[in-house]
């Protein structure tokens, strides 16, 4: 409204066009030049590429994205593909277990670290260092540890426990737990750091008050401190959740989808169809489903975080 007023005012005297041009392009020019990469990234990559992918997921593109419009055919094929369905089931099972265990263990360790213990920084260093390593390194180390003949299982059997079994990596029914052990190893420390920051942010007065009222410590944590840490918890859920949807490197390094196709995940499905299978339309449809999954996680979060700030 203020803008229209300004335009009318200027329009009365001289032509308003140069001023409009001036306002859009020349005013604050260096800042706009500096922000060009951001604007280009947002418009071309985050918006443009996403729309492109969604659009071409409705075509029958094979080696090149020039196919004709085929409606939901790619999606029908996708959900009648056994490999995709296994990938989705795997991601859901792994995702639920990983999310709850990462949050649970992260919170437990953060609470333990918050008890004014000695060697706190040593413990923190030990717990966080796996997070500095790549998923490839993580996957390969655990692959070696879980080697059935020469790894942990073989060692324990050689040491006398003849029935010791730790063959999860080659057992289709247990392979997700193998992924979970490696994934937790890499990510729990990070969650612990987030939770610890949240715990340290809780006012000391709260603790004094609950002690005066004689509330047991565990009760204070569950009923008072956890609800107060909502912000940190939501952030942790979003970060861990979007990491789970992207799960790719770890699977490639640890199991490469095997045994058989029992540990396939959607991100790997997308990659294989786009760059290995010569069936781009199928890969794009799978990628669009991944996007949908992230939106299902993100939209409630965005609503919770920013919905209330609309008044500002």
């Amino acid at each position: 409204m203020a803008d229209t007023a300004v335009q009318l005012e200027q329009g009365a005297g001289k032509s308003s066009r140069p001023n409009l041009l001036n306002r859009i392009f020349l005013h604050n020019l260096p800042a706009k030049i500096a922000a060009t990469p951001m604007v280009a990234t947002v418009l071309i990559v985050f918006i443009g590429c996403t729309i492109w992918t969604i659009y071409y997921s409705f075509t029958n593109s094979r080696l090149l994205p020039t196919g004709q419009f085929v409606g939901f055919a790619q999606y029908e094929r996708l959900f009648s593909n056994n490999r995709w369905n296994i990938s989705v089931t795997n991601l859901i099972s792994y995702g639920v277990m990983s999310l709850f265990l990462t949050l649970g263990l992260g919170f437990l360790l953060a609470v333990l670290m918050d008890q004014k213990i000695r060697f706190e920084s040593a413990f923190r260093t030990i717990m966080l260092y796996p997070f500095a390593l790549s998923f490839i390194v993580t996957g390969l180390v655990w692959q070696w540890i879980m080697n059935p003949t020469l790894g942990l299982q073989g060692t324990m059997r050689n040491l006398g426990w003849e029935n010791f079994t730790f063959d999860w990596i080659s057992n289709p029914r247990m392979v997700l737990f193998a992924l979970l052990i490696a994934g937790l190893w890499q990510g729990v420390g990070f969650c612990m750091i987030l939770m610890l920051a949240g715990l340290r942010g809780v006012d000391e007065e709260i603790w004094k008050a609950s002690r005066v009222d004689g509330i047991p410590t565990w009760r204070t944590y569950v009923s008072i401190v956890l609800p107060m840490m909502r912000g940190v918890l939501v952030t942790a859920v979003v970060l861990i959740g979007s990491g789970i949807v992207r799960l790719y490197d770890l699977v490639v390094a640890l199991t490469n989808g095997g045994p058989g196709i029992s540990s396939e995940v959607p991100a790997k499905y997308v990659y294989n169809y786009m760059f290995g299978g010569g069936n781009i339309g199928q890969g794009l449809a799978a990628a669009t489903m991944m996007l949908l999954t992230v939106l299902i996680i993100m939209v409630p979060w965005a609503y919770l975080e920013f919905g209330g700030k609309g008044r500002r």
């Binding site: 263990l105 413990f123 500095a132 390969l140 997308v270």
Partner: protein
């Protein structure tokens, strides 16, 4: 040795008996609560440390030692043969040049990607705080939301764009991709930092007639060394550890270390040499580990930056 230990232990114990009740009552160290806390923490520490131990120990063993089948045992000697072979002659499916080409490729990718992405994000964050223009906040919000889109969604169009630009399969393509996908977190980092600086400095410089770039280079940069170090740690470890972008965009001549490592271990033919595999794994993990142990608290700060709300 044990004698000195007991001797130094005894005098410490004596004053407790004779000192009498002075000061606050000292809490006993071995309460049941403490025992539970430390036992749990030590148990988890073993879980976290075990793979590092196994990795290093295995890399120094000989193959006969490994076939003996005890993953816990120490190597009979400090033997770095496997490290040498992992570095120079391990086979990656097609060629047998070891990890060293991958290492140098990773260096060639990491250094320019880090510099370009940090510079662009720093200038961008500065513009977003001190030189807002119409729509700047909206673009920033979309940038942050965009960072949650799975990479696979944008991967194929980006392949086409880089192909159009004629850089697909070369170093500039990987650098571009790392700059794009590093932008959300780095911009957030710099924006929050610049917003925390006193605005009077900026205003005073404005009054004195300094422009956009002059204020950035002469006032903002000298004050923001810590955040640059945080960004540096974040980017170097992140780019070094990347697998997907390297495998898609770098081209077969420039495959980074993580990709070559995976090839050495997972697609090598013949009998697997676990000592060479583990030596290669240690070597690949060494760069981020050194950065982690040297940087300490700054790494934690970089990691937690993702959780800082904008």
């Amino acid at each position: 040795m044990s004698q000195t230990a007991t001797m130094s232990g005894t005098p410490a114990a004596v004053p407790v008996d004779t000192a009498g009740p002075r000061g606050p009552k000292p809490k006993p160290f071995f309460t049941p609560k403490k025992i539970i806390i430390y036992t749990t923490l030590v148990f988890f520490s073993l879980y976290f440390l075990f793979p590092l131990y196994v990795m290093i120990v295995t890399s120094m063993k000989t193959m006969p030692e490994i076939r003996f089948g005890n993953i816990f045992s120490l190597p009979s000697a400090f033997n770095f043969d496997a490290w040498g072979r992992a570095w120079t002659s391990a086979c990656t499916g097609l060629t047998c040049n070891g990890l060293s080409p991958g290492f140098w490729n990773s260096v060639k990718i990491t250094i320019p990607s880090t510099i370009v992405s940090i510079f662009i994000a720093a200038v961008n964050g500065y513009a977003l705080v001190n030189w807002r223009f119409k729509g700047s906040e909206i673009f920033f919000a979309i940038l942050i939301f965009g960072s949650f889109i799975p990479y696979q969604v944008m991967l194929y169009p980006l392949v086409m764009i880089t192909r159009e630009l004629g850089i697909f399969g070369t170093l500039p393509a990987v650098i571009l991709i790392h700059t794009i996908f590093g932008m959300p977190i780095l911009t957030l980092l710099f924006r929050n930092y610049f917003a925390s600086l006193p605005q009077e400095l900026f205003k005073a410089a404005r009054v004195d007639g300094a422009g956009f770039w002059r204020i950035f280079f002469e006032i903002m940069l000298p004050m923001s060394l810590p955040i640059f170090v945080v960004a540096l740690i974040l980017q170097v470890t992140g780019i070094w550890n990347d697998f997907l972008f390297g495998v898609v965009f770098a081209g077969t001549q420039n495959l980074p270390m993580t990709v070559q490592l995976n090839n050495i271990v997972n697609s090598a033919q013949g009998t697997p040499e676990y000592n060479v595999n583990m030596a290669a794994t240690v070597l690949t993990g060494l760069v981020p580990l050194i950065i982690y142990f040297v940087s300490g608290k700054l790494f934690v700060r970089g990691v937690a930056a993702g959780a800082v709300k904008g």
